[in-house]
């Protein structure tokens, strides 16, 4: 129950995982690289070494970088399925006012975001005959002839403190009306995020629901087998960029769950040959072991107010649902049954929990008041329903269901009726709603390898996120980060 300090490298003990934070990494890189650079420089001062030292010196430098930085292979995204019904939109490359040399092509990031949503079909840059940056240069008839519904133009100018000021405008091509115009400030490092926020604003203006491009995804990445197996909990931008390792271990890591503030993650770690639930602050890397009872400690889920954590523990004999008050540390038992009770998930209003139980003989979804009491069965279709969670508006439930031997993502009404399948794999798992409720991310298999898949609720184009090596699984979509 004591908070653990931020550490780099192995903690005392054999299987201690490494936790990472950006400030620690920078400190480590500085500590490691400075002596190497100083040594290389001194060597190069001696003429006989000038030529010979360069190659091994660079070699050592690269090796040190590889050895000291956490493996953070990028997630690559492919768009899967057709884009019928997607709206045509042109996102013209943003102009650069003198003095502004942004390293990120803002318009490209915006267009890629809109394309990934499956709701838009951005015009390829190479087919644009003109690329206006100011409203007075726009000829709407031209864009109308090209079949565009909407047009986005913008300019990047030097901003305060070495950063950038990005101004953008969204037009309706038929009426020539300005639908949205705004400016966003960004540092060099914050450029991609600024582009995602612009894409969010455009998406919200045109669809009426908030965009989720400036959100993040937590997931488990696994590589190697047997004694060489490594498991890492990572967080990446929703487009797969900027993967950061939150913790890595030779023991399994499971069940990442976001706090509603988007700043903390709960997860299960098997370090020290036991299962424990940790809550880790992403900015500082500081973490706390909140549950490490005898037996199983699993399936954490934050309450909508962020003050409580539901979980499944077997300390009293068999897996039961408990709610831990993170402030007072009071643990309340919610279910009492000799069957398996696990995978608790909160209703958006915090009043009750969904959970998986095999009390009827096979795993099915039940609901119970967040303070405990009798449970009601929710699902009656099929003989295996598990891992349920509500949509952000509480009107739908996503879950895993078994259909003729295959495990797939299904969507039902809040009362468990009207089941419809959303995925077509055979071993799909861990479904999680995007914070705007428009899509579900889940784990799937592609050519025998674990990948992540995103399916829009309304059907249409999906996405597949994979890592170049190893596999990825157990995705958890962050809340909207404001």
């Amino acid at each position: 129950m004591t908070p653990l300090p931020v550490t780099w490298g192995g903690r005392s003990g054999n299987a201690a995982p490494r936790t990472w934070s950006v400030p620690t990494l920078r400190r480590v890189l500085r500590r490691v690289l400075r002596p190497v650079l100083v040594a290389c420089y001194q060597q190069l001062q001696q003429p006989r070494w000038r030529a010979r030292a360069l190659v091994p010196g660079l070699g050592i430098l690269i090796w040190m970088l590889l050895a000291s930085a956490p493996a953070s292979a990028r997630l690559t995204i492919e768009i899967t399925g057709g884009v019928e019904g997607a709206q045509p939109i042109a996102v013209v490359p943003f102009g650069e006012v003198e003095g502004a040399r942004p390293e990120v092509a803002i318009a490209e990031v915006i267009a890629a975001d809109l394309a990934r949503s499956g709701r838009f079909r951005p015009m390829p840059r190479r087919t644009m005959l003109v690329t206006p940056n100011r409203q007075e240069d726009v000829d709407f008839r031209e864009w109308e002839l090209l079949g565009m519904n909407n047009l986005v133009i913008g300019q990047v100018a030097p901003g305060a403190g070495g950063g950038y000021s990005i101004r953008f405008t969204l037009f309706d091509v038929f009426s020539g009306k300005t639908l949205l115009t705004n400016s966003v400030q960004a540092s060099e490092r914050g450029l991609r995020n600024a582009a995602h926020r612009i894409a969010d604003a455009i998406y919200e203006n045109l669809t009426g629901e908030p965009g989720v491009f400036a959100t993040r995804i937590a997931y488990v990445a696994a590589s190697g087998r047997g004694s060489g197996a490594r498991v890492a909990l990572r967080v990446a931008d929703a487009d797969g960029h900027h993967p950061q390792t939150v913790v890595d271990s030779s023991e399994p890591l499971m069940s990442p769950a976001w706090a509603p503030d988007g700043q903390r993650l709960a997860y299960v770690s098997f370090e020290g040959r036991r299962s424990s639930i940790f809550v880790q602050d992403l900015a500082s890397g500081r973490r706390e072991r909140v549950a490490s009872y005898p037996g199983m400690n699993s399936a954490p889920s934050f309450s909508p107010d962020g003050r409580k954590l539901a979980m499944s523990l077997s300390k009293d004999g068999n897996p039961e649902i408990y709610v831990l008050d993170l402030g007072s540390r009071e643990l309340t038992r919610i279910t009492e049954h000799f069957a398996i009770d696990t995978e608790p998930s909160w209703a958006p209003d915090g009043s009750h929990l969904l959970f998986t139980s095999d009390r009827g003989g096979r795993p099915q979804i039940y609901r119970v008041a967040a303070t405990g009491g009798p449970a009601q069965r929710v699902t009656f279709t099929g003989d295996y329903n598990a891992a349920a969670s509500y949509s952000p508006n509480g009107r739908q439930i996503a879950m895993i269901t078994r259909v003729s031997g295959a495990f797939r993502v299904a969507l039902t009404d809040a009362n468990g009726g009207g089941q419809r399948l959303l995925s077509a794999g055979s071993l799909d798992e861990s479904p999680c709603f995007a914070p705007n409720g428009s899509m579900i991310i889940y784990a799937s298999q592609s050519h025998g390898r674990g990948v992540l898949a995103v399916a829009p609720i309304t059907g249409g184009a999906g996405q597949r996120l994979s890592q170049d090596t190893g596999e990825v699984r157990e995705p958890a979509w962050s809340p909207l980060l404001r």
Binding site: N14, M254, S298, P363, E429
Partner: protein
């Protein structure tokens, strides 16, 4: 009575065998110590062996634990389960009784019961299922007289398959409880 000139002969023979040796019959090496099975994630087994003891190794057979004797009844330490159930199959009751007897009779022995499942179904549910399997074995051993405090359960669910393949053959090997002494 041995000819006095031949008296050193046995000695010489021993010396010849010991020093020169015969290429087709190298001196017998003592049996190696049984090496513990490397377990994934167990960092103690990853590094080079740090055995720096240079004293001569005694010729006597090393004392082998009955747990490591392939011919012994305690060598098998895994029981397998049917899909999505935690009931111990009748064919494993003798094996578990043998282990119960050994744990009961051997002071200081502690056992971790590691529960596992196949990859089908959700991960958290499988973690709970592996826990129930480990608990079923724990209850069986306790009913056979093993003190509760000698046993620990640890479920890995589907996280550590014994066979990484897909299909019923692999899955059957993965639905298991391992007795880890």
């Amino acid at each position: 009575m041995l000819n006095p000139r031949l008296r050193p002969l046995p000695l010489l023979l021993v010396a010849a065998l010991g020093l020169g040796g015969c290429p087709s019959a190298p001196p017998r090496q003592p049996e190696p110590e049984p090496v513990p099975q490397p377990r994934p994630g167990d960092l103690r087994t990853l590094g080079p062996r740090t055995d720096t003891d240079t004293r001569p190794i005694p010729i006597t057979e090393p004392v082998r634990s009955p747990l490591d004797d392939p011919a012994g009844p305690l060598y098998r330490k895994v029981v397998y389960f049917d899909y999505d159930v935690a009931e111990i199959k009748p064919q494993y009751t003798d094996l578990l009784r043998t282990h119960a007897g050994y744990i009961y009779q051997t002071p200081g022995v502690r056992v971790t019961l590691e529960g596992h499942t196949d990859e089908r179904g959700t991960r958290a549910y499988n973690l709970a299922l592996g826990e129930r399997r480990a608990d079923a074995v724990r209850r069986f051993l306790v009913a056979e007289g093993v003190p509760v405090d000698r046993l620990t359960t640890l479920s890995y669910g589907e996280e550590r398959p014994a066979d990484p393949g897909q299909g019923e053959q692999s899955w059957a090997l993965n639905r298991r409880v391992e007795l880890v002494y």
